[in-house]
């Protein structure tokens, strides 16, 4: 890219603030008109054209360059200037985006319509031929402005820097899986079916509360010291609770999981977890 082209590209950088745009810079002097005898490398002009986001942008530039309001477009003048640009591009055999030519045609049409004297009856429906163009220019300019506003917002990594602290003691934890009760029950049913448990006499007669109570009693008793028999009962549970506990103790005795000791008749009964004979 030539130095001139770089300058032009620089001018095109966002946030877009279009100045009077020189076609080229010759010995430090910006050139605003294209000298007929001067050769400008086509790529430099391409860069110039790239500075515009299409025909609406070019038109806005031409209007704003003269400090004019969109609502008060000097159509003849602007059209002439627009055509000049287009001609220039053509002379340089630059490939022009089709949109630029469409706009040229539209401008020419508006101009011709405005030059024609308007019949009175047409006044009724009478939309100003420029209205559509003005609407589009206005709409485009809003978003051109919005893009600039957006660009000026603080951007992450450009204006705003996120922070991050090291976590040296990071423990890659893994949450334990969830388990659904129905899955558990289905698993049990399957294993019992497999083991043919339903058809044999392995199925316990006791309610599950008995088994649960056996576990609780085992949790309470210790192998290394005696526990008072009464401590195993919780009278606040009422008669049923006491019965279940008693049955649990009997079942544990039967399975020799606990031992019971009574030193004398009617003396206190003590319970301890069974210990292996070899460990005694």
């Amino acid at each position: 890219m030539s130095a001139a082209a770089e300058k032009l590209a620089g001018a095109a950088e966002p946030p877009p603030r279009q100045q009077e745009m020189p076609f080229a810079v010759v010995e430090g002097e910006p050139q605003y008109t294209l000298p007929k005898d001067l050769y400008i490398p086509p790529d430099a002009l391409e860069v110039f054209l790239d500075a515009f986001e299409g025909p609406l942008d070019l038109l806005l530039y031409l209007i704003r360059r003269q400090n004019l309001d969109i609502l008060d477009i000097p159509l003849a003048e602007i059209t002439a200037q627009y055509m000049e640009y287009i001609e220039m591009m053509r002379e340089l055999r630059l490939e022009l985006a089709a949109e630029y030519l469409v706009m040229a045609a539209m401008l020419a049409e508006i101009k011709s319509r405005m030059l024609l004297p308007r019949p009175a009856e047409e006044e009724e429906e009478g939309e100003d031929p420029r209205a559509e163009l003005v609407r589009r220019l206005q709409e485009y300019e809003r978003f051109k402005q919005a893009a600039e506003d957006l660009h000026r917002l603080p951007q992450l990594g450009r204006d705003v820097f996120p922070v991050q602290a090291e976590v040296p003691h990071k423990r890659a934890q893994r949450k334990p899986p969830d388990l659904d009760l129905k899955e558990l029950l289905l698993a049990l049913r399957d294993v019992l079916k497999r083991a043919d448990m339903f058809s044999r006499h392995h199925v316990t007669r006791e309610p599950l509360s008995l088994r649960e109570r056996m576990t609780r009693v085992l949790e309470t008793v210790r192998p290394d010291r005696f526990t008072d028999f009464h401590e195993l009962f919780d009278v606040t549970e009422g008669r049923d609770g006491v019965v279940v506990t008693f049955m649990a103790i009997l079942e544990l005795l039967k399975q020799t999981l606990i031992e019971m000791v009574q030193a004398e008749n009617f003396g206190p009964i003590h319970v301890k977890a069974a210990t292996a004979h070899e460990s005694q």
């Binding site: 095109a12 004019l68 003048e77 485009y140």
Partner: protein
């Protein structure tokens, strides 16, 4: 450590460690169910933290996806020297496309092109999608079923916005009625007079923007 007593420390550590904004749900998820703080309590802690950071090199800000700790703007000139390479700038075409999607979402590519008056390159759309600033939110029920684009929370986060409402206001469109009025007399003579007349333009000229 007791999490309820040291809630502020834990929240601070998490925000600093995360490297992304954390919402209230994400903050709650740090705690076991039994010790999980209420959202109001978390909000309060975040406010306390923001107050603690007064006069510090960092600040707590709320963006679309939650709270983020970032370098205070005043420190940016020095901090930015940590990186030799400056971040790339986005082209006007990209910013205009993004602005149209942000303000006019959901919008199709064709509708963007209509307003901009030029075609939108696939590169731009791809870049916006890759940056996760925009996403396809649906399809317009017309022939070809073109994709409708909308912005994402990442877009808001990137520009430090809490919601789309925080976007800079879009310039007012001039009332079409008044516009018609002003255009009433298409007098070719007036046009040539208008050139260079130096009338103060109704809208702020770009050069001053």
């Amino acid at each position: 450590m007791n999490p309820s007593e040291h809630l502020k420390q834990i929240v601070e550590a998490a925000l600093l460690a995360a490297g992304r904004p954390l919402g209230l749900d994400a903050l709650q998820a740090l705690f076991d169910e039994l010790e999980r703080p209420h959202k109001n309590r978390l909000r309060q802690v975040l406010e306390e933290l923001a107050a603690d950071y007064e006069g510090r090199g960092i600040e707590v800000v709320e963006v679309a996806s939650g709270w983020r700790i970032q370098v205070r703007k005043e420190c940016s000139p020095w901090v930015s020297r940590l990186w030799e390479e400056k971040p790339g700038r986005y082209s006007r075409a990209l910013m205009e496309t993004l602005a149209l999607i942000a303000y006019r979402q959901p919008i199709t590519r064709g509708e963007i092109e209509e307003i901009r008056g030029v075609s939108v390159s696939s590169n731009i759309v791809r870049t916006l999608l890759e940056r996760e600033w925009v996403r396809v939110v649906g399809h317009r029920d017309v022939p070809g079923r073109p994709a409708l684009y909308g912005t994402t929370r990442q877009f808001l986060d990137y520009f430090g916005l809490k919601s789309l409402d925080d976007l800079p206001a879009l310039a007012e469109l001039k009332d079409l009625d008044s516009l018609e009025g002003e255009l009433e007399l298409p007098d070719p003579d007036r046009e040539s007079v208008a050139v260079g007349s130096g009338e103060p333009p109704a809208q702020k000229p770009h050069e001053e923007a």
